[in-house]
């Protein structure tokens, strides 16, 4: 079988990106291998662990369960775009650092992408809601407690800054 490939035009972290991709290339591998955006981690590659979570047109999705060719005409956001600049972190990233929300850090990019979207929709979550929102992301180090603490800390700060 000859290689089936397609020309795609996509927007990744706000930048237009045109590439030729093989049909079977997963979006996760496209981001990491073709674009060098290795912040998106690859864990289970079958939609269970959540490490590869990105935003597809603004909504969290698992990039291992999408094809690169499906990015054609759509906008992708990865963890690389969270921090406002080189010297500052996103408030959720800052809270993860302060509350010890990560140990090995492998799951962290996926959790950040999941929870930034969650906090945008639900700025005042209960602890229970945070735990339910986290259910699609596996972490094998923290026992989740510090992640929950970090999300609640970030939520409080984001609410404060939106008032100010």
């Amino acid at each position: 079988m000859t290689t089936d490939s397609h020309q795609i035009v996509t927007t990744v972290n706000g930048e237009r990106c045109e590439r030729r991709v093989e049909s079977r290339l997963l979006l996760s591998d496209f981001l990491r291998h073709e674009l060098g955006l290795t912040g998106t981690h690859v864990g289970c590659e079958h939609g269970v662990c959540g490490a590869c979570t990105i935003h597809y047109d603004g909504a969290p999705a698992r990039s291992c369960l999408m094809l690169a060719v499906q990015a054609n005409g759509h906008a992708i956001t990865t963890v690389e775009a969270l921090a406002p600049d080189r010297d500052r972190l996103h408030p959720l990233q800052e809270a993860f650092r302060e509350a010890h929300g990560l140990q090995c850090g492998y799951c962290t990019p996926g959790i950040l992408m999941t929870m930034t979207a969650f906090l945008a929709e639900n700025p005042s979550p209960t602890e229970h809601e945070v735990r339910e929102a986290l259910s699609g992301n596996l972490c094998r180090c923290t026992g989740y407690q510090h992640i929950v603490d970090a999300v609640l800390l970030a939520a409080a700060r984001l609410r404060g800054s939106s008032r100010g």
Binding site: L26, E45, H46, S135
Partner: protein, 290 residues
């Protein structure tokens, strides 16, 4: 993990997608949300030669009410939309109550109604919900369309009544009769995981408050979503009280023949079916009286 090579085609129209299926038959698969198909391809359990991406068919993404009050939802509607759409909560509260149990938020953002049903995973919540509510499904092919009742649609594990050249394009839920209460409940190890057992309960009362109709359907209780006729019989024709509800729960435990799995033995699944039947009926009955 990489899927084996395949030819990818982004469907230009429904007619285009259906024509490709006629041309390639079982060698072609429709790609909707991809939340079950892509992992199967990553594992190489599924190896379609042609992948027809139906995501461009935005006409199949809608929720609307038709003249007789029935709710019609397009097959490409995302699970997340079912969760949030006010018409769904208002017209078919059982669907609204069940969808937050369907996997995780990231998956609900991509997964579609049609993909979920056509995949026909017996552990999936929505097939049981369709069965309990007497929904019907519209299949389209180049030859025309036909409606399939939910009870005829789910044929076996991952197997439906859809023919090789057909696409599931729409689901219709009939309007709920007055004095109807519904409830969905499941037990899973973690929110979003497959349920060890789940129940969809529908109860309709008559003018005097007696049970006029009842339907109970279960997920992860067999090769397809299954109904418990015994549980419904225990309720219909009498006023619902604690004893009736206990009888219905006992009947459900007898009716069901779950297979047991790594998370729950067959005996435990049966036990859960009884407990969930009792709790769901209490709630559905209370809602029917409101």
């Amino acid at each position: 993990m990489k899927p084996p090579p395949f030819r990818y085609v982004a469907a230009e129209s429904l007619a285009n997608a259906l024509a490709l299926k006629v041309e390639h038959g079982d060698d072609a698969r429709f790609l909707a949300g991809g939340q079950s198909l892509i992992p199967a391809m990553n594992f190489r359990l599924a190896q379609p030669a042609v992948l027809v991406d139906v995501n461009p068919l935005r006409d199949l993404d809608y929720v609307r009410v038709v003249d007789d009050g029935a709710l019609r939802i397009g097959a490409l509607t995302r699970t997340r939309t079912l969760e949030r759409e006010a018409l769904v909560a208002e017209r078919q509260p059982l669907v609204h109550e069940a969808v937050p149990h369907v996997a995780h938020p990231q998956i609900r953002n991509r997964g579609t109604l049609g993909g979920n049903l056509a995949h026909a995973d017996p552990a999936s919540e929505l097939p049981a919900v369709l069965l309990a509510l007497g929904a019907r499904l519209r299949a389209q092919s180049s030859r025309g369309e036909r409606w399939i009742e939910a009870q005829d649609f789910f044929v076996g594990v991952f197997t439906t009544a859809l023919r090789s050249d057909e696409m599931l394009v729409e689901v219709e839920w009939p309007a709920l009769p007055p004095r109807t209460g519904t409830c969905f409940m499941e037990v899973a190890r973690r929110r979003g995981d497959y349920a060890m057992m789940g129940v969809a309960a529908v109860v309709t009362l008559d003018d005097d408050g007696a049970c006029a109709n009842a339907a109970l359907a279960y997920c992860n209780a067999g090769a397809t979503p299954v109904r418990s006729a015994g549980a419904a019989q225990a309720l219909v024709g009498a006023r619902t009280d604690e004893q009736r509800i206990r009888d219905a729960a006992a009947a459900a435990e007898r009716d069901l023949d779950p297979s047991g799995n790594v998370h729950a033995s067959k005996a435990f699944q049966r036990h859960l079916a009884g407990v969930l039947t009792r709790r769901a009926l209490q709630t559905a009955h209370a809602r029917a009286r409101r």
